[in-house]
Amino acid sequence: MIKTQDLRKIFKIGKKQKETLVAVDGLNLEISEGEVFGFLGPNGAGKTTTVRMLTSLIRPSSGSAEIYGLKVGVDDTEIRRNVGILTESPGLYERLSAEQNLRIFAELYDIPDPEKAINKYLSMLDLWDRRMDAAGTYSKGMRQKLAVARAMLHEPKVLFLDEPTTGLDPEAAKTVRDFIDELKHQGRTIFMCTHNLDEAERHCDRVGIFKQRLLALDKPSALREQLFGRKVVFHLANTTPEMCAAVQALPDVKALEQIENKLLVSLDEPEKMNPVITRILVDKGADILFIGEIKQSLERVYLEMIRSEESSQTKKINQSVERNRA
């Protein structure tokens, strides 16, 4: 269970460390046990900074966070012992073999049966045959898999994955994604940073759209509906203006758009309205070819949110510029 309250990180930057950069601006989050949480945001949003705070690698500037009741800034060693982290770059010892790499971490995490854990994850992640080779000779995908194995050795109940598939070829990405599914089935709590929306949608119970602040937080499907509502397409053989007028007259129809012989109808509850609309259309003499729901991709939801956040920021800046002028 992960809980943050008003978590904030301000970096001092510039030559004399006098300027400040707000990387995370008051994050409130509650993630329950066994949940897979997607932390979605563009580059520079503050995702890695958040993960580093939650894994006790850097100190929050203010606010608090706890993981399984362990407080960040107080129980740091305990937190590190109990969480696993896949860092943004794999950070392997390139001159050492996969096995040696893992053994170091098995020792540092004080694992009771290191050989067993090492062998288990080497074979689970398809690295067994190359376990004696130096990590420096590995492909990008293999490196990432080795880094995943390293994060799992001590069987953490909470796992932080910082962009687990970024930069991987499709095959390696698939192995990693399948592995994440497996971890999910084992009931582990997973906090996953990503800007890959398909990935978030595939794995995550909830996603937070984040850029310094949390812009939205919900199930992927709910977020989509919240922003775009639901849309049903009625593909007809022929259309007449009367058909459109009759559908539009229904109180539950929020909007109607016609593209050639397709009627795009925005509805809150398609399950309730589709039969009604179908009947009306048939009454008006329509031949219905298809009916289907149009799913806006999470990508659009995300881009929409980031865009509106950016424009509101620009507005704020413009306002303050104008205020300064005045």
Partner: protein, 269 residues
């Protein structure tokens, strides 16, 4: 303790896979041992100093500082050799200063460029354990190499038939203190200095070269000794040990500040 051992093991496994490091660790001690042996061998077998007494040497003005006190009871030739030996032994003392720099530079900069410090820092290891592990990983081989060379040097002295008086001087309290006590202290200073430099640069060779400025104060001592400003005797050695120990403690303390988790992740570029 276990974590420190793990770090040391890891450092050695990594850093000694680099050919540069192995070469330096082998060549430097070998050169520092062989060159003086050859020179002393030539001197003692050709009798360069002849039968000049130390008093005469002193009067001729060719003896720096209070060398007479060091040469008490030695023949003229032996005294000449001792004067020379002091230069070589000072060079010997450079080994614990130079060797750890190489190891530390490659280990820290290497870790920086592969970004392997972050996963390491995410483990339950304390930063102090990590720092001590890294320090020891550089100090132990450097001091080991120095001691081994010193042993080899002393065996070699018998083989090239250097006189017992000179050998006794070398194995006397002054240089035993130097090699056994001051050596490790110098190594600690060097590794902490290299750590500081390595945290700021991104090329191990650069870190090595910049850390190399450490030999300048050392050169100062050699020159001062040659000019007769200082005499290397047991008093000087004890004083050096105290001063260097204080510096080492200070540098180590500075190391713990530089080697802070957040610092490493956010300031080391």
């Amino acid at each position: 303790m276990k974590n420190i051992r793990t770090i040391i093991k890891k450092e050695w496994a990594e850093v000694f896979k680099r050919r540069v490091v192995v070469l330096i660790m082998l060549l430097v001690p070998l050169l520092f041992t062989l060159i003086p042996l050859v020179m002393l061998g030539v001197m003692s077998n050709t009798g360069v100093g002849g039968d000049v007494s130390p008093e005469m040497l002193a009067q001729s003005g060719s003896m720096p500082g209070d060398m007479e006190t060091v040469c008490v009871g030695l023949s003229g030739n032996d005294c000449m050799q001792v004067m020379m030996v002091i230069q070589f032994l000072l060079m010997f003392m450079m080994m614990p200063l130079l060797l750890p720099i190489t190891i530390a530079a490659y280990s820290i900069v290497g870790e920086k460029t592969t970004r392997s410090l972050e996963p390491l820092l995410a483990t339950p290891i304390t930063t102090l354990e990590l720092l001590v592990g890294k320090c020891l990983a550089a100090v132990i081989p450097a001091v080991g190499a120095t001691w081994a060379s010193f042993a080899l040097f002393n065996i070699g002295l018998i083989l090239v038939k250097v006189s017992p008086g000179v050998r006794a001087y070398i194995l006397g309290p002054t240089w035993l203190l130097g090699i056994l006590v001051l050596g490790p202290i110098l190594a600690i200073i060097a590794v902490n200095f290299a750590l500081y430099v390595s945290s700021r640069v991104s090329d191990p060779r650069m870190a090595e070269q910049v850390s190399g400025v450490l030999i300048f104060p050392f050169m100062g001592v050699i020159l001062a000794q040659l000019a007769g400003v200082i005499t290397i005797n047991i008093k000087f050695m004890l004083l050096s040990i105290v001063v260097c120990a204080l510096i080492a403690v200070g540098m180590f303390y500075l190391g713990t500040i530089i080697f802070d988790r957040e610092n490493i992740l956010t300031k080391w570029k």
